[in-house]
């Protein structure tokens, strides 16, 4: 059976996906580390041995490290792969919000995952997932726990820092002021969600709206973004691999086989 590979080399985490016969056959994620060339090789090896029965026709790479994937047939932009990926998952979605480590993106899409409009944060990492990573680190908590913990808060604390890295100072000051950890986390999630909502309003929201990227795994952030946007959010089972999935779909399209779902 013919299969297509999508590789997304992100700044923190990298993901690989194999699709065949309109469905996801295999996927693999690992830390991007320092050498992106090696990471791409590792993902490829893992995907190949997970799908021995597949004839891998074509590979497309995306993400900031895409150029390092020497053996990829195509390079595609992170925004196109996000749009194609979410459409593969559900083709009635018209807006997707992706919260990555370094960049948050909002894309409005039309039929077949075609990009209508998009925006993302530029020079500064404010509004991206790294903001929560820094805070989890200073509170000596695992990134996976801060979402659920933030949902236990009753009185979210005000968060104002512009710089993602200085979220840490703000956390320290809030701790000094004796606030509870859940309230501090809720404040951080709310502040991030607000920045993303402002960006989304900038290009207009069309229902149905989905949340993708690593941020989608964080239940607290998903709830905060729903509240800030004021509309329902669909979250795919593995929101972090949507970019890689989109790259695989593009590889399929480029090879003439329409990977329709």
């Amino acid at each position: 059976m013919n299969g297509y590979i999508g590789i997304d080399i992100g700044s923190q985490n990298s993901k690989g996906v194999v699709i065949a016969d309109h469905s996801i056959i295999a996927h693999y994620t690992c830390a991007s580390g320092v050498n992106h060339r090696q990471t791409a090789e590792k993902i490829r090896a893992k995907l190949l041995d997970k799908t021995p029965h597949i004839r891998h026709i074509r590979t497309a790479a995306t993400g900031c490290g895409a150029k390092r994937v020497a053996w990829a047939d195509d390079q595609c932009s992170d925004i196109q792969s996000l749009a194609r990926g979410i459409c593969f998952f559900d083709n009635t979605i018209r807006t997707v919000v992706e919260v990555g480590d370094r960049f948050s993106r909002v894309v409005r899409l039309g039929q077949g995952g075609m990009v209508i409009d998009f925006s993302m944060n530029h020079r500064c990492a404010t509004g991206a997932g790294v903001f929560l990573q820094v805070i989890a680190k200073i509170l000596q908590l695992d990134i996976g726990d801060i979402g659920p913990l933030s949902l236990k808060s009753t009185a979210a604390v005000r968060f104002d820092t512009g710089c993602a890295v200085f979220g840490e100072t703000e956390v320290i000051t809030r701790i000094c002021e004796g606030h509870r950890i859940e309230d501090i986390l809720a404040g951080a999630h709310h502040s991030l969600a607000e920045k993303i909502a402002a960006m989304a309003k900038g290009i207009g929201l069309e229902k149905k709206c989905a949340l993708a990227g690593g941020g989608g795994l964080n239940t607290g952030l998903a709830a905060a973004i729903r509240k800030a946007l004021g509309i329902e959010l669909v979250i795919p089972p593995r929101p972090d691999i949507i970019g890689a999935l989109g790259a695989a779909v593009i590889a399929g399209q480029k090879s003439g086989h329409q990977a329709k779902r």
């Binding site: 932009s77 925004i79 196109q80 039309g110 075609m114 990009v115 209508i116 409009d117 998009f118 925006s119 530029h122 020079r123 900038g202």
Partner: protein, 452 residues
């Protein structure tokens, strides 16, 4: 699939006009050497230029000079000096370069031109002309130089009536009166300073040359409505300074522009485009990244042709009946006042009130049949960036034309990330294609209107 066949076809007549910008600086330095006075001036959109020329007073423009210092990557030394002297870092990038340059000139070189200054530098001025058009920086910048130099500053006012207000004859009357008073007072000031009277015939001649040159430039750029568009924005930015700054001999500039007009007309006749095949026709909002203009060649490889620029750098729309005004000062004043109010009537008819800067883009997008608009947001230039959110939404709401935003800055070259912008350009093509189909279905004026 970039192919090297698609390159921007540069106009031959452009090169002579581009060279005229350098004359402005060489003539400024020569004047200094022979002891003739040199003035510094803000761009005044033709409010002061004929008077300067008629009084034979050499003029150089710190804004234009700062743009060249930034483009040649020599800005950081002057920016550091400006910061060290306590000026906030968010001020206009051009003014910070000039403030640093003067601080270096006065404190570092005892008033002489700093040796490292590009283009031979700017000589110490005998007077400086501020102007109230467009932004506060152009009012306060020369005043702040008082800390370093005892050079007198003259402030020239202009009226900036609102769209609805401009429709009122009283407002037109006193706005025109202010602009005329300012011209007369400026003439009186220069006469006192230079100790000689203005030669009114020479002033009238300069005025008519200025209007002829402006009309000829306007006619040339109207030809760019043709499909494919014969002249890329890169050529526009090269030929713009001679009429924006009225530099050098105006009659020579008129000849150069006539040659340019003929070449462009010839291209239109034989359907030659500046970019072939021309896949997308775009507007360019405000100031270009002077330091990385080859970025547009990379976009040309994708078939992007830039067909029209900001209202602020294009010649004003021709004003009927200008020639029949006998009083040169009134003719001059009406010509200048028309710059900022030229599109007010169109804006009012459309119930929009950002009559200059913003609204003209709606008219340009229609007349030049554009597929998209490129917005170059500048960190330290508010007057060139304030209207972007408004204009983007306006183009989408009125004409279903999408916009592409790239961040940059006047002076900090690192903020302009060409690679990242090129990666996103591919995605923006999908938006342009989508809305082009949408416009054709709903037969929006932008697409099916034949250029006037």
């Amino acid at each position: 699939m970039p192919t090297d066949t698609i390159k921007i076809k540069r106009l031959k007549a452009m090169y002579r006009l581009r060279a005229k910008v350098d004359d402005m600086y060489t003539s400024g330095l020569e004047a200094m050497k022979d002891g003739r006075p040199v003035a510094w001036s803000m761009v005044t959109w033709w409010h002061a230029d004929p008077v300067f020329k008629a009084m034979d007073l050499e003029v150089v423009y710190p804004e234009n000079y700062a743009a060249m210092v930034a483009a040649s990557g020599k800005a950081s030394r002057y920016l550091d000096l400006c910061d060290a002297d306590g000026f906030p870092t968010h001020l206009c990038g051009y003014s910070r370069i000039n403030l640093g340059y003067v601080s270096r000139m006065v404190n570092g070189c005892a008033g002489g031109i700093p040796p490292e200054a590009p283009m031979g530098g700017l000589p110490k001025p005998v007077m400086m002309l501020s102007h109230s058009m467009l932004c506060d920086a152009r009012v306060k910048w020369f005043q702040s130089l008082g800390r370093y130099m005892d050079t007198p500053v003259w402030m020239m006012e202009t009226a900036l009536p609102g769209v609805e207000e401009w429709n009122d004859p009283d407002v037109r009357k006193w706005s025109l009166k202010l602009v005329m008073d300012e011209i007369e007072q400026f003439i009186a000031y220069l006469e006192r300073m230079l100790g000689r009277k203005l030669n009114r015939d020479r002033y009238d001649e300069m005025l008519s040359d200025m209007i002829t040159l402006s009309r000829l430039a306007y006619k040339t750029f109207e030809l760019r409505k043709a499909t494919p568009c014969p002249m890329h924005s890169r050529d526009f930015w090269s030929v713009m300074p001679p009429y924006l700054y009225m530099s050098g001999d105006l009659k020579d500039s008129i000849d150069c522009y006539q040659a340019l007009y003929d070449e462009v007309e010839q291209r239109v006749a034989s359907r030659i485009g500046a970019v072939e095949p021309e896949k997308y026709r775009l507007l360019f909002a405000e100031l270009p990244p002077w330091h990385s203009l080859e970025f547009f060649d990379r976009l040309a490889e994708r078939g992007w042709n830039f067909v029209k620029e900001s209202w602020a750098y294009n010649p004003p729309r021709p004003l009927e009946g200008l020639e029949d005004i006998s009083d040169p000062v009134e003719r001059h004043a009406r010509f200048h006042l028309h710059v900022a109010t030229g599109y007010h009537a169109d804006a009012l008819a459309d119930d929009e009130y950002m009559g200059y800067l913003g609204y003209p883009y709606v008219k340009f997008a229609k007349d030049y049949a554009c597929d998209g608009a490129f917005f170059h947001g500048l960190m330290t230039c508010r007057s060139a960036s304030t209207h972007h959110p408004y204009t983007r939404e306006l183009l989408m709401r009125k004409l279903k034309i999408p916009s592409f935003q790239v961040e940059g800055d006047l002076v900090d070259l690192r903020l302009f990330n060409a690679e990242e912008a090129l990666r996103r350009a591919e995605v923006f093509e999908e938006s342009m294609d989508y809305y082009r189909e949408l416009r054709q279905q709903e037969h929006f004026p932008a697409d099916n209107m034949q250029p006037a």
